[in-house]
Structures are given as C-alpha cells and as structure tokens.
Symmetry: C2
Subunit: 356 residues, 2 copies
C-alpha cells in the first residue's frame, strides 16, 4: 500500500456507514454502534471484521430483511450476575454491545457479570467487546459461535463452528492485553488469501469428505471442505482445539438455550460475554504494576537472531490503531468498490470518507 493510496478517515467512515444503516431502517443509536464497532476493527488492523463485511453482510441483510433492523432485544436476569439475552435476529453488533453492557453493569454492582446470548448474528471482532471491559478496569471475556465449517478429530465433514475466544486486560501505560482468536487452524478468509496469493493450503489445515488433506484453496470451497481445530493432528493437540471450540459452544449456545454450532436450533449466532472487576479482588491494586512487569519480561526475553523483540497479544493492535486514527484506514479495491456502490445506491456523499 503506497503513500498515495486511498485511505478512509475513521470519523467520516463511521458517519457514512451509520447513514447507510439508517436508510434501511436501523435506529440512529444502533446504526452508530454498528459503525463504531466495525470501524474499530479496521482501525486495529482486523480488516477481516470491518468495512469488508459491511455491504455484503450487515447492510444487505438488513436491507433485504434477513436481519431485523429494529429488533426487540430481550434481557432476562436470573441472578445478580447472570443473564440471558435474546437478540431477536438483530444486528450482532447491536445485540453484542447491549449484552456486554449488561455484563459490565452487573460486574460494577456485584464484582462479576456473565451474559449468554441467542438469536443474534455475526457480531464483528471480539476485541471490541473485551476492550469495553478493559477501559473500565475490568477483565473482559467474549466467546462466539462462528460458521459451522470445522471438523472434529478424525472427522470427515463440517461439524462445529469456527468459534471465537477473546479476552482483554488493562495494562497501565501499555496497550491493553487483547487475545482474539479462533481455536482452529484458519478462518475462511485465510484460506481465500492462500488462493489470492497462489499458494497451496498448508498441510493440516483442511480436509475433504474422506478426511484427506485439501491443498487447493478453490477445491476447499468447491467441495465444502472442513477446517481443522487448532493443533491439527492427534500428536500436535487437535483435541485441545476441539475442546476449546466445544467450550465456546457450551457457554454461548447451550447456556443461552439455542444449542450452539452443532445444533443451531434458531438458525442464528450465539455469544457469551463476561466481566470481572479488577478492584473487586482485594489484590487488585497490584494489578497495573504487575501487568507492566510481565510485559517488561516479555519484551526483554531473548529471541532468535534478527527477529526483533517478542510482542504480547494486543500490542500490534494498539500501535496500528494510533497510526490509522492519525493517517487513515488503508482501503483495498474491494472496500472502495463497496463504498461507491453504497454511495450510489443510497445517494450518500463520500467526500468526508476518502483522504489521501
């Protein structure tokens, strides 16, 4: 991406996306929340979960009635620290944001809060929700079911979800610790990228209906191959990745009454959100200093010659965020095409979005 490539201004992009959603009936506040979470992903360098999904997934599904623009989200508490949210097939980002707010509010009052969510849709990057907690001096947890494209150990077809596990902790002067991962070998976009780059899928990533490795990215999509859980083989720990995937299914899908990625009773996505207030632990005052020391130990660890210092999860995200807030969000051709299409379709100006 050269210095003259087209970039987007974060604030302008947010306004543009929110306006587009408002045009298809999303209430102003929910449209703003959705735009905020998606642009945040682009700012942090999580391009697979931002603008790239806006036109074809979020906007179009609301426009076409596949996702409810004005859902009646139902929040039911069962105890001072536990609740279930039914998203009424609303935008996953709106439902997720509401659910995490509920978890934070319970943690504020009682130390911890846990919310399991059914009837939702793709809720974007998990990093956003767990960072909501970190900004309020809490530990944030998030899990979500993903598309059921993953095989179990020894399996020959798609069985479980490409699920997500996310966790964040504040780190004083450093950028927050943010883990945001799928306990699988790859998400679909990574398989696509191998194709774009003309590379084969590495061994151990995906299998066909006979359980044989698939190496051709096109074959993966043509045959509806299955991704493998993290670990990839019995010797290398595939049962660990599989176990983590199922843990997500239990916390998000089974606990919320839906069933998760193997069952999909209500045909929609499920999530869970959790928060632990750090100062609700009597040792909480030591937390910031110990996080700094831990990070210092990681930065100071000896590494292989020429590889530079070791980094912790969330560090790159934080650096990219500051750069892109200042310099703009780099746009690729697919993003630009989507923006122009939307601009024409809803007669929305792009002047405030593009910067050079």
């Amino acid at each position: 991406m050269g210095g003259n490539a087209l970039k987007a201004d974060a604030a302008g992009l947010r306004r543009f996306m929110a306006s587009a959603l408002a045009k298809v009936g999303v209430p102003e506040r929910d449209a703003a929340t959705t735009a905020e979470i998606l642009v945040d992903a682009d700012l942090r360098g999580i391009e697979s979960h931002g603008l790239l999904n806006f036109y074809d997934y979020y906007y179009k599904k609301v426009r076409d009635g596949d996702i409810q623009g004005r859902p009646r989200i139902r929040v039911s508490r069962g105890s001072p620290t536990t609740a279930v949210v039914d998203g009424d097939n609303g935008l996953g980002l709106v439902v997720g944001h509401r659910a995490m707010e509920e978890a934070l509010s319970m943690a504020e009052e009682s130390g911890s809060g846990w919310v399991s969510v059914c009837g939702s849709n793709h809720c974007g990057a998990g990093a956003y929700y767990v960072l909501m907690a970190a900004r309020r001096n809490m530990l944030g947890f998030h899990v979500s079911t993903g598309g059921s494209t993953v095989a179990g150990p020894g399996g020959t077809g798609r069985l479980v979800g490409n699920n997500v596990i996310a966790f964040a902790a504040p780190a004083k002067k450093h950028d927050p610790f943010v883990l945001d991962m799928a306990p699988t070998m790859a998400i679909a976009n990574k398989i696509r990228r191998f194709g774009w780059e003309g590379k084969p899928i590495p061994p151990g990533f995906a299998v066909d209906r006979k359980g044989e490795p698939i190496t051709d990215p096109e074959e993966y999509f043509r045959q509806e191959g299955a991704i493998l859980p993290l670990g990839s083989s019995p010797l290398y720990g595939i049962h660990k990745g599989f176990g983590l995937i199922l843990m997500v299914d239990i916390l998000a899908g089974v606990l919320s009454g839906d069933g998760g990625s193997t069952l999909r009773k209500k045909g929609a996505e499920t999530h869970a959100f959790g928060a632990l207030r750090i100062d609700a632990f009597p040792s909480g005052a030591d937390f910031p200093g110990l996080m700094e020391e831990m990070i210092g130990r990681i930065h100071g660890a000896p590494t292989v010659e020429g590889s530079g210092p070791m980094r912790y999860p969330g560090e790159r995200m934080g650096r990219v965020y500051r750069e892109r807030l200042r310099d703009g969000i780099p746009l690729n051709e697919a993003m630009i095409a989507d923006l122009r299409k939307l601009s024409a379709e809803q007669n929305l100006p792009l002047e405030d979005v593009f910067i050079r």
Copy 2:
C-alpha cells in the same frame, strides 16, 4: 498391563496416602482431601497427576518443610462474587479445594463466583476442581500456572509457564464434559515418555537456547530446553497458544497479586477458580437436553474409515473412572516402589492397597 498385574484399590490407596500425610503433620481433613484429589486423577486415567507425584513431591515437600503441612489459608472477599486466597505455601490440593469451595459458595448465592489464588503449590489435575462444579449443576473453570519451561514465539529460552486451562459442564445421562489441557505442545512427562519409548521429540515441540529444534529427549533436559506454545509455529498458530498461556498468568498470577509464571514474586504457584450456576441463567432448564443433543451430534459425526466414533472431552475419563473403581488402579513399577518406600518409612501397612 496384564490381568495379573498389581493394582490398587481406590479406597485403600486413599487411606494409605492420608495416613502418610498425617504422619508428617497434615491435619486429618486436609490429608483426606489431598488423597481424594490425587486418587481421583489415577481413577480417571490422569496418571501424570496422581500417585506418581505423591512420594517425591507432595509427601516429601511437607516432610522436609518445603510445603507447609498446617498453612493458615487466608480468604478475602472483595465483592459478593470475587475473592483472593493466599495459600500460605500449603499443599496446592488443599488450597485449591478451599478456593473452589469459595467460588461455588459465591455462585450458589449470587450466580457466579471467581477466586484468584497465590501462595500455593502444584494442585494436581484441574479436572477435579471443575468437576466439583459440574456435580452441583454449575459450569466450572480452573486455570493454573505451571513450571516456567515454555518459550514465547521466536524465543530462545524458558519464559512462561506450562499453564493449565480446565472447564467442565454436566451432561445429563452422559459423563460430564471435561476439558483439562495445557495450551502448549507438551508437559515434561510427555517429553520423558518419548525418551522411554526411544522416540525422538517430534519437530515443533521444543527448542534450545538458540531457538533450534531439540529432538533428543535427553538433550531437552540436559540443556534445559524450552517447550513451545500450542500451535508451535507462526503459520500454525503459536501466538494463540502463547495468548492462552498469558491469559492464565493474568487470571491466576497477576490478579492474585503474585505476578504469574514470568515473575513468580512469591516463588509459588498461582491458580484461579470460577463457577457459573446453570439455573441462574433463565434458559438453564434447557441445558441438560441440549448437552445430550450436542453429544449425540458428536457421536454421530462421520469419521475416517476404521477410526470409530468421535468422542468429546471427558468421555474417556468417565469410562476409565468406572472401570478402575470396579477393577482397581493399574500400578507401574515406579508407583509400587514409592508405595513400598513409604510403607517402610512410616510403618504403614499395604494390605488394603494392593489387589490382584
């Protein structure tokens, strides 16, 4: 192990271990708890965390004063659902059991409970603690720091712990779901086993001080090599294993005021325990049925020819538990030697332990 090999009766073994601990000053109730948790690991087929560690680790450390037989465990609540436990350098199993009881009791009252623990020692198999929750119709969480023998991505030496993540959920007529894993390529005993079996360490498991692969198990111990995080390489997801290891360090070490496996301020182990009451979620009544359905889906999944049906985490553990409770716990030479040594040292009879 043939049909005539020496086995141990679970109840007899429990009494023997508890008596041995009592002889070195552990209060009766704590001795019983310790024996209960260790024998439970052997019953479930987690031999690496049971009797095998009894003589050389738990018993000897108490006898020699390295672990306090009569610790003053301090429990400090900071909110209705959060607490810190300082184990006062007591037996990890006693400290862990006390901490999990605290988490369960908070969850009973308020829906959820979270306890972070410092000043402890090795607390045995995580499966035990999370199953305490599952038996009370709760979801159980446990994390623990382990020996600091693991490298970070690109690292050339030992930096972080061989940490543990455990999770359990009840499953109605089925054995509970139990995940009990290290987010690393191996625990030390697995490296030893490669040596006993005359096999090389597979590529991607361990590195030397230059970051080069170590394949000889003896070299691993001689050079104090480092295990790699789950994922093993950048392409295969080493950053995911590393992130999970650090998440454990934050929940157990940083939150409890100790610092975790990179810092080890108090020189001891740290843990965390969590519980979520299923019936504190308004959808909780659907949980048992949905767990059964999920397991049915796993059992029915097509698998590679000749490999048999797919299993879920905890299934083998449950089957082995019932077999060993009925037929006895198989003993290997090291276990038998330890038992005889202890019997002689403390003049404790072995009649009730051995069965054939």
